[in-house]
Each structure stands twice: as structure tokens, then as C-alpha cells.
Amino acid sequence: MWEKPWGLLEGLIIALGLIIAGIMLEITAGPVMWDAFAWPANIIALVTLIGIIVIMHMMRKRFYACAFFGTYTAAIPTFAVAVVLTIIMGLTRQTVGGTWIYDMLTFWPFVLIYVLMTIILGLAILKHITHFNYKRDIPFLLNHLGLFIALTCGTMGNADMQRLKMITEIGQVEWRALDQQQAIKELPIAIELKQFIMEQYNDGSPKRFASEVQILSQTGKNIHAIIDVNKPVEVDGWKIYQYGYDTNAGPRSRISIFELVRDPWLPAVYAGIIMMLAGAVGMFIISQRRTS
């Protein structure tokens, strides 16, 4: 053991070591406080992470460990441990504010393993960029860089995301909404519910529900729109979703509930997702080429 080159076992021990470190952190510092990553902390954290990856990449010839994290040997066991933790997450009932594995997203070992995976991913990307070869590396970069962007921007952007519920009543202008902690927030946009629309199947279950609204914004916009399930309306960076209604009143509901979502990091995440989609097409083509 620990004779160079390191193998899967060494990689596994590093991952398990990280889990132990995570447990220590969980005991001493408590769960991961994602809310602390609100702007600008998230951009600082992201730049720091990329900085660490770049430094590790440059130090790969001086320190063996730095080179090791850019290899399959490091990636595979870390992947395996991440899968096991994610399986545990899938087998347990996750609740916000749950402890340890019952709120996996704030459980240090889980977070640290995913961070290590991101570092490995970053090192692999840098390795391919420094020895760039068109045919081989374009699908590779689309897949890996796309995942890196979606993963980091999605996670870091989470604290900046706002998800609010707004309850509107026919004929009244509403600009206040509730956040996930049920606190009232005042918004730069206001919604007036003109009409609640509902169609039903013969058995009375909902076929369609939507709201006819007038949306006013502080930037001076005055928009007439119909908001359907699956068809959100976007105003000034806010996506407005049809969320609910008075289910007891059904088609006669005089209220309509909207969810308002603002996610400034979304374009970056979508860029990553689109790269991965293109990478998947590339993978399809390449895998056919290899046999022929």
C-alpha cells in the first residue's frame, strides 16, 4: 500500500478518510449551512474551487497526490462511494432539518465526497485541455465540462434562488408572497387575478387549471397573460408558475396560488445541460465508430 502508482484501494481509503473527516465536521460544526453561500459568497467559493483545481493541476509533477487525483484510479472509488451515499439517500426519508443521513444534502461526508468528485472532474478536464486533440476531446469536454458547469453553478446558485408562493384573489392586486420559511416578502412585481379557469374530466378530476392575470412591474411593465400549469410566464427574471387554487371550491375557486421563482444562475446551469446533451450525441456517434 501507498507504493506509487497508487491503486483503487488507495483511492478508496482517501474517499473513506474524507467520510471520517466529514463525520468529525458534522459533530463539531453541525450540518452544512448552504444559506451562507448567498451572493457573493458563492462566487468566491466557486473561484476558490477552480483556483484549487488549477493549482493542483500545475503541481501535478511536483506532488504525486495532485497527479493522482486526475486519474481514473482516483475517480472510480470516489464515484463508488458517491453512489453508495446516494443510495443511502434514496433509501431513507429525507426531510429538511433532518439529522445526518436524513438530510443528506447538508451531511458533510456527502458534500465532501461530491466536492472531491468535482475536483477530480476539474483535473480531468484540465488534463484534456493541455493535451487537446480534436476528435477525442470535443465530446469529452462537452460531457465533462458540461457536468462541471451544471454541478457547480447549480449547487452554488441554490442559495441565490428564491421560491415564493403568492396567493391572489380575483380583482385584487397582490405584491406580497411567502418564502419557504413562511416569511412575507415584498416583490418588485404585482399580480392581479382576473379570472380562474378550470376544466374537468367527467369524473371531476382536474383536466386544466389556469389563471388570467394582469402583471405589473416596478420597471413599468403591464402584461396581460394566461398562466397554465407547465407554461410559466417570465417577467424581469421572475418565472411565475400556476401552483394551486382553492381545491374545495374547484372550478368556482376565487383564489389562485402562484409560485414565483428567481434563479440568476439558471443560464449557466442550462449552458452546462446543453453541453451534456451535445456530449451525449457525441457519445452515440463515437461508440458506433469504435467498432467499425
Binding site: 481514473y72 453512489v83 443510495i87 434514496g90 446551469v269 445541460i273 457519445m283 452515440f284 458506433q288
Partner: protein
């Protein structure tokens, strides 16, 4: 109800697929193609008629998803056959498709007409169909793995490993499509592209398990045995994601993906 006529279409399709599989063994390539494609045509007529009578894509209940699975298995089979002329593949796809047809015949589920508004989206069909295709291809890869582990005691044929790798690569490409289509749809329907809903958590597990296989194959191309076992474990995890989740206590009531009631 349209399901009452299912048995006639199903029997016709099974007979045609079985004939195709038999001709593949007899090296009658054209016959195998013609027969399998005819079977697919018969089956797709049923799906289209069902689609029209239901006034929505038949993709909501387990029974309806099995319908697509029975359709895509022979389709995936004929594509693999076209490319690698593997004699047994049509037999395999026919048997599996028949199993799913039989489940539909002997365990008819309640097919209500109601489709909740959240499912009425242009993303619905691509999301599920792409996943079905991925499941069919990865299922085929798993059969290759089981076949290689159990029947080839001594020497492994590198061509068979090539086919397995190709099936996994193409299957994973489809799996990625399904997952990302799901993310884009979730943003439109639920306001967020990834919420770690139990179904999403298991989709991530499955996706990563196949990624391990692909990375391991590049890392140690000669350690075929371990790779094949990774493949089998990955497929078990896939079952969890696909239907096991419906029986998982931790997912009850907390998953937005369970539409069964």
C-alpha cells in the same frame, strides 16, 4: 375499452417477432427483418389507436409504460441485429417483450382517462420514450453480461465485450437524454430542474453506476469479470429507479413522480 382488443394485436405481434427471431437463427436475414418490422407495425397500430381513443399519449400508468417497453425492445433488438448480426438478440428481445405483454394481459391495471395537468407537456413523450429506449438497451447489455459470465467459462470473445460496451455507451447516451429532458421539463412544471426527489435521486444513482462501468472499462480493459459485475449491479439499481421506488417506504408520499393513485 381499447384494452379489450389488446390481446389480438399482442398475439399477432408476438407471432411475427417469434418468426423473426427464428429466421435470425436460420440466417435468413431479410426474413428476420421483414417479420420483426411487421410485428412492430402491428403493435404500433395498437399504440396509435390507443393514443387516439385516450386523447393523450398512453404513457401514464405502469401498464401503458410496459406497452412502450414491449414496443421498444424488439425495435432496439432489430437495430442491434442490423448492426452486429447477433443471432440471439431477436430471441431475447422477443422473450422480454412477451413477458411485458403477458403482464399487461394477465394483470390489467386500471386505465383511467384522467391525466393530471402537470403531465400535460410536450416534454412528456420524449422524456419517457428516451428512458424506455435506454432501459431496453441497458437491459440488452445486462443479458450480454449474464451470458458472458455464465456460459463462457474460459475464454471471452472480445467481440462480445465490444457489443456490450456499445450497448452501454448508447444506453447511457439515452439515459443522459432522459435525465436532462426531465430536468428541463421539471423547471417548466415544478419550478426547479433538480429537487432530489426520490425518483431523481435514484436516477442519479443509476446514471453514476453506468458511468463507473464506462470509466472502469477504460481504466482496466482486461478486467472483464469485474466490469460485467458492475453492469449487473447497475441494472439492479436501474430497477429500483424504474419501479422499485413505488414500493419503497421512504419514497411514499414524498415523490412527485408517483402518479399511481
Amino acid at each position: 375499452m381499447i384494452w379489450e382488443y389488446f390481446i389480438y394485436f399482442a398475439i399477432a405481434a408476438i407471432v411475427l417477432w417469434a418468426a423473426g427471431a427464428w429466421m435470425a437463427w436460420k440466417d435468413k436475414v431479410a426474413g428476420a427483418f421483414a417479420s420483426t418490422v411487421c410485428g412492430l407495425a402491428v403493435f404500433s397500430v395498437f399504440i396509435v389507436v390507443m393514443w387516439i381513443t385516450l386523447e393523450r399519449p398512453p404513457l401514464r400508468t405502469m401498464g401503458e409504460t410496459r406497452l412502450w417497453y414491449s414496443f421498444f425492445l424488439p425495435l432496439a433488438g432489430i437495430i442491434v441485429y442490423a448492426r452486429w448480426k447477433y443471432k440471439w438478440i431477436l430471441t431475447f428481445s422477443t422473450i422480454l417483450a412477451t413477458v411485458f405483454i403477458c403482464i399487461n394481459i394477465f394483470k390489467p391495471e386500471i386505465h383511467s382517462k384522467a391525466l393530471m395537468p402537470a403531465l400535460q407537456s410536450p416534454w412528456f413523450a420524449p422524456h419517457v420514450i428516451v428512458y424506455m429506449f435506454a432501459y431496453a438497451l441497458l437491459g440488452a447489455a445486462t443479458v450480454m453480461a449474464v451470458y458472458q459470465i455464465s456460459f463462457k467459462k474460459r475464454k471471452l470473445d472480445p467481440r462480445e465485450m465490444d457489443i456490450t460496451d456499445n450497448l452501454v455507451n448508447v444506453g447511457l447516451a439515452f439515459l443522459t437524454f432522459g435525465m436532462l429532458f426531465g430536468a428541463l421539463w421539471a423547471k417548466e412544471a415544478w419550478g426547479h430542474y433538480w429537487s432530489w426527489d426520490p425518483k431523481e435521486t435514484w436516477a442519479a444513482v443509476t446514471w453514476m453506476a453506468y458511468l463507473i462501468y464506462i470509466h472502469f472499462r477504460i481504466y482496466r480493459p482486461k478486467q472483464v469479470w469485474s466490469a460485467l459485475w458492475i453492469l449487473i449491479i447497475a441494472f439492479i439499481l436501474l430497477q429500483m429507479c424504474w419501479w422499485g421506488i413505488n414500493y419503497l417506504p421512504s419514497a411514499q408520499g414524498s415523490s412527485v413522480h408517483t402518479y399511481s393513485n
